[in-house]
Symmetry: C2
Subunit: 214 residues, 2 copies
């Protein structure tokens, strides 16, 4: 039922962050309207695709002028729920966890990393990019105290499933999974897997065939 009534627009949603980036840069010029054609040129897309995508957000443009810049930004941010603050934790304070904690761009998306966890006693008590690293057994307590709603999983793959279980036990319903493990989770838990290898697979095939894909 809710599986059937899916109105997903996954490819469109994936393009929104790029649109937002371009439009925000354009906003600094002070121009009040931005055309879909202009966005398309910046991103090497077809204007019709940009218009179709933007229509998902409910924004209405003006023929000849384009879309009102401020409203367009607000519409995309609202559609992505980037206009509300998300409080997240890093689970696995290694290289990647640390890199993500320091990734400034997330601030523009309403994503705030407020705590980190690691099983290594040497890391616990330290900070990464001004964020405190806690013991894994404090996870549930800190999640509740800091009102954390999202876990970013960056542990080595052998620890992925057990860390995931601990995250779920703490009441978290959304996991951004940077490991290459297909996590087993209950139905009400959302997992988004970020797979560097699949990007490299595309790149490899492009290099082999000397053709532009993707």
């Amino acid at each position: 039922m809710s599986q059937k009534t899916k109105l997903n627009y996954v490819p469109s949603i994936r393009r929104f962050p790029s649109y937002l980036h371009i439009i925000r840069a354009f906003q600094r010029t002070g121009e009040p309207y931005i055309s879909g054609t202009w966005i398309a040129n910046e991103l090497n897309l077809e204007p019709i695709q940009v218009r179709k995508d933007l229509s998902i957000t409910g924004i209405v443009g003006k023929p000849k002028k384009g879309y009102p810049v401020d409203q367009l930004i607000a519409a995309i941010e609202h559609y992505l729920a980037w206009d509300i603050e998300q409080r997240a934790m890093i689970v696995g304070a290694g290289n990647l966890g640390s890199a993500l904690t320091g990734y400034q761009e997330f601030r523009n998306h309403g994503l705030h990393i407020v705590a980190a966890f690691d099983s290594d006693p040497l890391k616990v008590g330290k900070t990464i990019h001004q964020i405190q690293v806690y013991q894994m057994n404090q996870l549930k307590e800190i999640v509740e105290r800091m009102k954390i709603t999202l876990a970013i999983l960056t542990v080595p793959s052998p620890y992925a499933q057990s860390s995931c279980d601990a995250i779920i036990a703490a009441g978290i319903k959304a996991i951004w999974n940077f490991t290459n493990v297909k996590l087993k989770v209950p139905d009400d838990v959302i997992v988004q897997r970020e797979d560097l290898s699949s990007g490299y697979a595309i790149l490899s095939v492009m290099m082999r065939t000397k053709a532009k894909l993707s």
Copy 2:
């Protein structure tokens, strides 16, 4: 012409690394055959999709038994060109560059990071994960000496285009772009952009709608 005759299979190529991961784990059991049904169950996919994907590699399975494990791994690796060594450099030895340098999984994909570059004099001369960090103005020299064919771009976005230009001037034809900048490159240069924000966009919309997409 070469644009029209595209036989891309992009979504299939993106799934291959997951297949490979599952099949390699299965290989350790010593069983000589693996069925598409089994792979599908592990990854929550439809068996028909797995069979269709695997057929791209040219592998032929045996009814009732499945696919010969060793041959299947070889076929996928060959299709992805992961059976030949790629020599790569990190451009931008910050947090993300360092994390990617230490990412062990890449070794399983034939990807060897052999040098790093940074414009910060404090980083030059140091190492990240046993890889030497060089000055940006040594880029061309080192690329030639070390026979580097791939650049992994992890500089802050304001430096993305100028770094890209330097990379291209050094003769590199493939760039794995981790910045949020749409790079301007000549026709014969391949760019694969890795966009963390688009993954987070999907996650955000899933959290907002409480529906599983992607």
